[in-house]
Symmetry: C2
């Protein structure tokens, strides 16, 4: 039976972007089933008492260089986003409903690339409408999903579940109960899927 | 000309231990010159505003599992230390003088293995005396070095230099001005040494 890989992510995380770009190859090599778990990272950080690395200035400076090195190693186009940290409640609420669409992968790619390749402000409604239209989606449908209270509740439930299972940041991966944190732990994730 | 690899470490860091265990192989492959930079991690954390990962409970739990995974991958004997975090002022002050001894490597191995293989409390004078004697050193000489005000000043200078150069945690590596943080970045360190 195919193993399940749960991917807890938020678009505001550049390391989630780097991880997302590597997932198709890992899925192809392992035959695992990828399960997207869009969560609200701001809520996770607040509940767990975790703080963004950039709050320590020296750590933020190192991380900026480190991200560039990983992107280069992977051959993934990457640019720091001047709008970071972006408020992702809107995109992550809409994701709770859109996750069931057959073209969810295309939506994910549009937003991730806008945020971490094209330096767009994905918290801005006008910018978001342009990105969505460019990828063939209806902004009206999207904003309706983002404003639907049921999706607000679902995002809260996913975020609460993440924290209850030990998540403190993004990206976080589960293979069954085994949890891995960080795009730099994908080797461990692949090992777990290959076991 | 051989490249210099500066290794900023503190014995209280289990990731510094895992890195230290891999250094001989990296030095052999690259022909680099290893320069030990014993610093006081507590001072670095305080000055930079960085906090130990374990202050976020979920992060501490993940890190405990993550350390075991890396140790297994490397084949490095490792056990969590019940005395963590150990106060390392004594051992790091003595190191400022002992770093010039031809048997400094043996001293390093004795303390690192005591801390992260044998679960010893390296902040305890009696325990430390036993470790030193077991490795063929004179505890009296060691404690004299630890109490020498010149070594206290040297440790402060090394720690200040680390912070001034961007260090916020341990282990940290420099190849010239290029800084890498973490035992999980040794591939980047080796690349920098091989360039």
């Amino acid at each position: 039976m195919s193993k399940r890989l749960e991917f807890f992510y938020d678009f505001t995380s550049p390391t989630a972007y780097l991880a997302w770009a590597r997932l198709p190859a890992i899925i192809e090599r392992t035959g695992a089933t990828l399960v997207y778990r869009p969560m609200f990272l701001g809520g996770v950080m607040q509940t767990t008492g975790n703080r963004p690395p950039g709050m320590v200035a020296a750590k933020g400076a190192w991380m900026a260089a480190d991200l560039q090195r990983w992107a280069k190693r992977y051959g993934t186009p990457y640019a720091p986003n001047p709008h970071f940290p972006m408020m992702t409640l809107m995109v992550q609420r809409a994701a709770q409903e859109w996750i069931d669409r057959p073209d969810f992968d295309i939506y994910l790619a549009a937003i991730f690339n806008a945020a971490w390749r094209d330096q767009k402000n994905i918290a801005d409604k006008g910018v978001l409408a342009e990105i969505l239209e460019g990828a063939g989606f209806s902004p009206e449908e999207f904003f309706a999903a983002a404003e639907n209270p049921a999706n607000k509740e679902k995002l809260k439930a996913t975020t609460d579940e993440a924290v209850a299972r030990g998540v403190f940041g993004a990206p976080t991966f589960f293979v069954g109960d085994e949890m891995h944190f960080g795009q730099d732990r994908l080797d461990f994730v692949e090992e777990a899927l290959s076991r």
